[in-house]
Every structure is written in structure tokens, then in C-alpha cells.
Symmetry: none
């Protein structure tokens, strides 16, 4: 209904199609707020140090206008991140291997954006705040579905074994990459080389014989 750039979570608005009564929320404000967040972050403010007060001032907006839309700082950050993650990657669909690599490389590319400065803080909040979790899932799901489609198509076309554990394989590809890219989990592994090494490592287990 409303769409702040590629805003995924959006205000906690009723999912009805019929118009809500009263003055509608200002799209200008939505934009100004998210922009203010990204501005401040890109000027060196830490995600953790970012204050709603500063966002409101920068956006030329009342604090209440922010709290009307997002329940807390984290949720706002999720939206801000989502808005710069941009559209879903486009897969060519000719080769499973190629499609997987393309998608994984896109995850890795997150590092080069402002998102990497924000995401870890959100990850740590995920298991404390179920509402935030819901928002985050809502952002991830389309991406997850995309990869699921690639694997399923691979099975249908005989490229992949039909008995593979699709969701587990997906997580085995993405989770290590995220852990490396955002958290530097294992210092021995260079993030940029991860997509290939991950696909190579799992390939014998999923490729059709």
C-alpha cells in the first residue's frame, strides 16, 4: 500500500484494503526519516550510537512521528537497511551453480554498503525481540524463496539430486557467508572467496550423479 523506497516492514498498519479513517501518514515523513538515518550512519554515527532524537531533528520531524511508524530503534534500522539492500538479485536460470554463486556474491556485496554497519546489531537483537524478528523474516523471505526456486528448478531439470534437504542446504550456504561477512566468525576464511568455496564444498552432495 505504502512503500518507502523498498521498505519491507513498514508501519504496523492494518492489512485491510479499505482506507483507514483520519489523516493518512505522510509519505514525505517516511522518506525523510529513512534518509536521515542513512545520512547519519554514512556520516560516521554508529548504529548503536544513533539516537532517535537526532534522526527526528535531521529529518525535520517530531519524535512521535517516528514512534508512530516504528516501535523502536532496531525496527527503524531494519527498514533503513532494507531500503538500501535494493531489489532482489536477478538470476539467469541457465545453471544452478551459476545462479547460486550470483546470489551468494550478492550477500557478500552487502559488506560494501552501509548495511554491514547496521546488520550485526540487528542480528543480536533478533532473539530478544519477536516483533523485530517478524520484520526481519519478512525482509528475508522473498530472498529465501528465490533461492528455493533455483534449487527446485535444478531438481526438476535433473541438475540436482531429487532428495536434497532444500532448506538445510540453503542455510548451509548463506549462514556461513553471513557469519564471515558481518561477524568475521572464522578469521582464517576470506569472505570474498566464500561463495565459490561454499558451493564447491556442498556440490558433490547435491549434484545429480
Amino acid at each position: 500500500m505504502r512503500d518507502v523506497m523498498t521498505n519491507v516492514t513498514g508501519p504496523a498498519r492494518v492489512d485491510q484494503d479499505r482506507k483507514a479513517p483520519g489523516r493518512p501518514r505522510s509519505a514525505r515523513a517516511d522518506g525523510a526519516i529513512v534518509d536521515a538515518v542513512l545520512d547519519l550512519l554514512s556520516e560516521g554515527t554508529t548504529a548503536e550510537a544513533l539516537s532517535i532524537e537526532a534522526v527526528a531533528t535531521r529529518a525535520g520531524v517530531g519524535k512521535a512521528t517516528i514512534y508512530r511508524r516504528w516501535p523502536n530503534k532496531e525496527a527503524l534500522l531494519v527498514d533503513a537497511v532494507a531500503s538500501i539492500k535494493g531489489g532482489l538479485p536477478h538470476v539467469r536460470g541457465e545453471s544452478v551453480r551459476e545462479d547460486l554463486l550470483m546470489m551468494l556474491r550478492q550477500v557478500g556485496r552487502v559488506d560494501s554498503t552501509r548495511a554491514s554497519r547496521i546488520t550485526p546489531g540487528i542480528l543480536a537483537q533478533l532473539h530478544h525481540n519477536s516483533e523485530l524478528q517478524r520484520c526481519y523474516q519478512k525482509m528475508l523471505e522473498p530472498r529465501r524463496e528465490l533461492m528455493r526456486g533455483v534449487l527446485r528448478r535444478g531438481i526438476e531439470r535433473g541438475e540436482l539430486r531429487p532428495d536434497i534437504d532444500v532448506d538445510v542446504v540453503m542455510t548451509m550456504l548463506v549462514a556461513p557467508l553471513v557469519a564471515q561477512t558481518l561477524l568475521h566468525w572464522n578469521p582464517n576464511l576470506e569472505p570474498s572467496a566464500m561463495p565459490e568455496r561454499l558451493v564447491d564444498a556442498i556440490w558433490p552432495a547435491i549434484a545429480a550423479p
Copy 2:
């Protein structure tokens, strides 16, 4: 279990050998403070949300006593994480599959060790603070080495293919498990069933033909 004297930054203490005048610092306080930090983290407090005020209260210590020893919250966190020790799982060494499952199940038993309960709170700070990162790695490394040993032994005994990408395989097993257990990354995957599904999924790619 804990050992503040091996801490990394340590109290800002004079490097002289001759005794300083006045009342010496209380070792009880050192311990109580670090313990309080670990307690709070293991009770779900985020590293970011951890307040010195709460640490002081929990430790039964004045705030000044903390600031006398550590210049800021981050330094205290580093020391606290550095003090985590021990608790490695014991592997039987008879079968690679069995050993992997045992280690993964230990990761999954999030509530069993304080160390693992502390992890989620720390995650968000990891990429902000390279010193903290180093300490965290120091805690992880023995566990990593243990799993590395299991895989290498499997290769030597011919159970596993000799060309597997050891570190990547390890990360592909552990990262998804951590992502599910601590962050509920993918809501479709039940954490308790993950160890088996992960090993099953990667097995055809690592088992000797």
C-alpha cells in the same frame, strides 16, 4: 574457571614492582565485577544494553571501583570474554559421524554452558571492536581445533575424502546451527533436528567414496 590475572587489557595498574602505597586493590572486586558481567550476559542482556550501573549493583561494588580498573564498557567486555575458559566437549574418536554429531549437539544445547549463553549478547559488538574479536576467537579456537582434529583424523583413517575444504566444511556445519539456535534465522528449521540434517546434507560431499 575464570582468571582475571590473565586478562588482556587488565587494570590500568602501574608497571612497577615495588608496592604502591595505600590500600591495595581488592581481588574480590575484580572477580565480582567480571562475574557480574558474565552473569548479566548469560541472562540475556545484550553487550550493547549492558550497563555499568547494573554491573556495579550486581557485583555489590561502587561504580568508581569499575572505572578505576577499566576505562570503558568495551574494555570490561573484552576482559570478561577473555576470562571464559574450559568446557570443551569430549569426543570418543571412534567415528567421524558420531563425533561431529556430538559436537554439534553441544552447540545446540545453548543453555548448558555459560559460554554459549553469552555468545548472542557479544555478537553485535564483534565487528566494532577488534580487541573483543581477538578475545572471542581465543575462546572459540580450541573448539575449532577440536573439530578440525576430528575431520583430519577422518581423512587419515580413510573415512573422509582427502581433498575436503576443512575450514569451510566446519563453518558450514557450525554457522547454520548457531544461526538457528541463537538467532532463529530460518523459522522453518527446528533447531534440535539440525545436527543430523546438517551432517546428512554434507555427508555425500565429504565421505570417502
Copy 3:
């Protein structure tokens, strides 16, 4: 009981006789708003603490509907107070002492009439707002006149000394009672016993010798 049409400031309505175009203002709204104000005041809300937001909600009315009629909170209060009417006590007229006691006991029965429940909330505003003061006096005057009549009748009939300071005596009877009943001015004096003690205390000074 209430009569908004006799209000003092009245809605900021055009002074033309010819019908204004568009939808006419709702009389229901006028009434509901004033009633809401009186309800809130009688429930203990201070005039100062009374919020337009609460009035609008209670009246089931939009805020704009209030601001369309009254320029600010004070004007609304004035109108609300002005709308209070009726409920004068009935005096038997056989004995001055008895009549005074009856009237004073009525003042003490704070919860019996909405008018008296409203008084404390209004008190604080009185000296800020002369318009409000005028309205309040308009409500008090009939009650004052009633008591004045009792005293004058007492003088005429020889029950009271002819030289008493009528208005001062009245205030000496009523003000202490109000101070005790509404403000608990002196914690040593039980409000319910005040009417008798007041009349007894002044009696030797006013009774005919």
C-alpha cells in the same frame, strides 16, 4: 440543567441572520463537549490538567470540532462553568440557626451535586482568568443571596443584632467550611462537625442580646 445557549462567550459564530452555507453545526456536539468538561471536572480533573484531547474523546467528538467553537481551553471552561445551574437548597425560614446549619450542611455534602465537585478544579484558575471568575460568581451569587436573605430576615425578626457585617459573617461561615471540605486545610478539624462548630462560634457575636 445545562443550557449551552445561554453561554457567555458562545461559539465563534457569524453574527449574520442569513443561513450560512454548508452543514450546520451540530447541537449534539455543543452539548456533548460541555458535558464532557463537567464530567471530567467532577471526576477530579483539575482545570489546569484538563486536556482538550480527553474532552474530545469523552465527548466522542473530533478535536477540531472543539477548536471550531472555542479558541482555547479557558474559554471552554468559562462556558462549561456558566452552564451550571439550579440545585439551590431549600430553607424553612423558621429559625436563623436552623437555616444556616442546613445551608452549611449542603456545602459539606460535597459529593451530592456535580457543581460542588467541580469547584476545586476551578479554584486554581479563578485568579488567572477574570472571565472565568465572572462566570463562577454568577453561579455563586444566588446561593450567596439566599444566605444573605436568611441573615437579613433574622435581623428583621429580632433574632440577630442589627449591626452585623453580613457579607463578612457569611464568608466566615462558608470559607472555612469550603477550606476544610475541599482542601482539608486544617487536619485537626473534622469537616462533618464544622457546620455546628462554626455557627456556635459566631453565634454570640451575631445573636440579638
Copy 4:
């Protein structure tokens, strides 16, 4: 123990004589806060419009430092008023009539001070806020005791009848005066003439025959 000028309510401090632990409250802050209140009021800020935020800024003090001492705006105002009401009136003790007049004139003189702008708002709050009431009583009691003493001395010396209802008489003198001075209760009565008229009116009832 502590004494902000003539501060009556003071911080809600334990009434023990033994020192409280921790850093003691700053007397400078006490003074600066009360001064800031009086400054702002005397610059035209309404009691109702006075904001703690502004007081803190003006006093060069953190908001918490104010809230540590006073539970709310009203209590702070009571103290501020008390601090300018100054010391108790000095009675000569030669004639009851003269002493009463002197004390009543002092009440009337309140009008000329900044207190009159504050007191009515406090009066209206009295019956809502028992804590405030306690504070207010604490300020009134010495004044009440003073008048009680005058009347008792009058009885002992045979100037007054021995059977008068002391507390009621006191209230009959003070309450009307306050009602006129601060609230302009009865527009027919000129405040400045009240002391004499009040004493004259009650005198025949209390003077020894």
C-alpha cells in the same frame, strides 16, 4: 539538618541524625533550583507554565537533581513559595486584638509577593495529592501554632472567654482572608479591609464579658 533558605518540605530524607551514606546532596544545587524558580516566576512565567526543564537549565543543574529532591512541580513550588514567605511574623504579645490583626495583615501582605501567583494552583492540588498536602501542612503548622498561642495567652490573661473553640476561630479568621486574597471569592469584599472586619465580626463572640 539541611535548610534551603527557609525551605520547609525539603527532600524526602530519612529523619535520622546519623549521616546517610554516599555523597551528600549539594546545598548549592538546592539554592540554585529554588532561585531559578523564583527568577522565572518573577520574569512573568506562569506557575502553570513553568517547566522543570527550564528550571534545570536556568539553575545549571540536571533534571534528575531536581527530581531527586522534589517529587513534582507542585512540591517544588510549595518550597519556592515558602522560601519567600519569609519568617514567622513577630507578635508583640500586649493585646490579643493587636496580635491577631498583625498576623492577619501578614497573610494579606502575601498578595504583594510572588507567592500569590503560585498559591492558588497549589490549593487546587491539595486534595488530590496527599504528599503535597503533608508538605503544605508542614509549612502552615508553625504559623497555626503561633496564632493558637496568641489565643491561649488571651484566655490565660482573661482577655478572651475560656470556652472558645480555638481551632475553629482561627480558621474563621484565616480562611476568609485567604479566600479573598488569593481567590477573590466574594467580589463585594475588599481584601485590604478584611483583617479589621473579621476581627470585629468575631470579637463579641470571643472577648471576655
